[in-house]
């Protein structure tokens, strides 16, 4: 099972879990259907991208665990409670945690629960989960992070306990910095073995070292479009679930994300929803 976990910014959305299916204008999760802009917002963008990738690869659709949370923390709390109790029954092969609010005790309890599973899943964190993992010193319990340069700056700052309070973030993180910051973060134990860093040039990192970069196709308008970091997390999760070796999956995910943009022929005003539609075709260009 590919298990995708995170909150959705919908106030009254109950704790929802089940097989999911991306259908363009809607995302079905168990018995719940997200529509319109909610299909590609935050965690839902990640799930939609993973579902579209699974469809293209003709493998099982992801299973998602989500709940509404508009910043009060109730969704995050309920998701943790459920997952701590049920992850051993769900038996995920790949587990990706995405947008959640800061939480120390419950988060560490979940991480320890996953770490003690007999069949430990490939454990991925992005967004709130990535920040939580670093802030609680639990990064090494994960297998992969998918940070953007801002999140990487936080990982590399050993003393920072909050992403808004990082040193050396004021200047643009250039390609040299991605390599340097990745090594720095890895050396003080704040990254897992694998990372894919989405930037102007995407970097694949293994054990703190750059093992690959993806520069093409270069679509300038993509930089303006919010959500392309969420899609790369969903795509790489699905590729690893399909059995592709993790560092190769990172390279392929970065390529697919860029082809997705190229196929959509976007302007800076294009929404991420219009890009996700092109993931199946992009997957077929990259994965033979």
């Amino acid at each position: 099972m590919l298990l995708l976990v995170g909150t959705i910014p919908v106030e009254d959305m109950p704790l929802t879990h089940g097989q999911c299916k991306y259908e363009g204008d809607k995302l079905i999760i168990g018995g719940y259907t997200l529509e319109q802009e909610y299909v590609t917002i935050g965690t839902a963008a990640m799930i939609s991208a993973a579902s579209a990738t699974c469809q293209a690869l003709n493998i099982d659709e992801p299973y998602a665990l989500v709940m509404g949370d508009t910043g009060m923390g109730e969704g995050t709390k309920s998701i943790f409670e459920f997952l701590i109790n049920e992850v051993s029954n769900l038996k995920p092969k790949v587990l990706t945690i995405h947008y959640i609010l800061p939480s120390r005790d419950q988060f560490l309890k979940l991480v320890d629960t996953v770490d003690n599973l007999e069949d430990k899943p490939f454990f991925i964190a992005d967004a709130g989960a990535l920040l939580n993992a670093k802030a609680t010193g639990a990064s090494k319990k994960f297998d992969m992070f998918t940070p953007d340069p801002g999140e990487l700056s936080f990982l590399a700052d050993q003393d920072a306990a909050h992403p808004a309070y990082v040193q050396h973030f004021i200047f643009e993180v250039d390609n040299t910095d991605v390599a340097r910051l990745s090594k720095q973060a890895y050396d003080h134990g704040d990254t897992p073995r694998y990372m894919v860093v989405k930037a102007a040039v995407d970097h694949v990192i293994v054990d703190g070292e750059v093992v690959g970069v993806v520069k093409e196709p270069l679509i300038p308008a993509l930089e303006a479009i919010g959500g392309t970091g969420d899609t790369i997390t969903g795509i790489v999760s699905a590729l690893i679930f399909s059995g592709i070796e993790p560092s190769d999956a990172c390279l392929k995910a970065a390529q697919i994300n860029r082809f997705m943009g190229e196929l959509a022929n976007p302007t800076p005003a294009t929404g991420i929803a219009k890009l996700v539609e092109h993931i199946p075709e992009a997957v077929k260009k990259v994965v033979s």
Binding site: P149, G150, Q167, P220, A224, T228, P268, A269
Partner: protein, 128 residues
Amino acid sequence: MAEQALEEEKALIVFDYIYHALRGKHVLEEAGLDIKEVAPPPEYRTGCDLALELSAIEVDNAERILDEKDVIILDILFMPKDTKLVPVYLKTLIKTTDFPDYKMVRCGNMKVTYQKGTGTIVNISGGG
């Protein structure tokens, strides 16, 4: 004469984190102090990459204002007169990219894109 010499002395307020540096700039400017955002020279580099330069005679006043406004400083450095500091004006940290019908404004990794003419925000991105 002594006062004129003292006025030429510069001091540098350095901060642990950029949040405090930006707030420090705001409250000191609001109080009417003449300050410049600079990158500390390598031999003084500590904390975050943005420091505030001001006349040495304004240091006590600035320290009091920052303390009153709960802006946490890392240190105050008194600089030799010939020290060359690199200006880091905020306008250089905020970068814009022109597209035919849109403009993207970027500060760090936060990007806001708006339609020219209407000013309507069409995209917000927080990533790479």
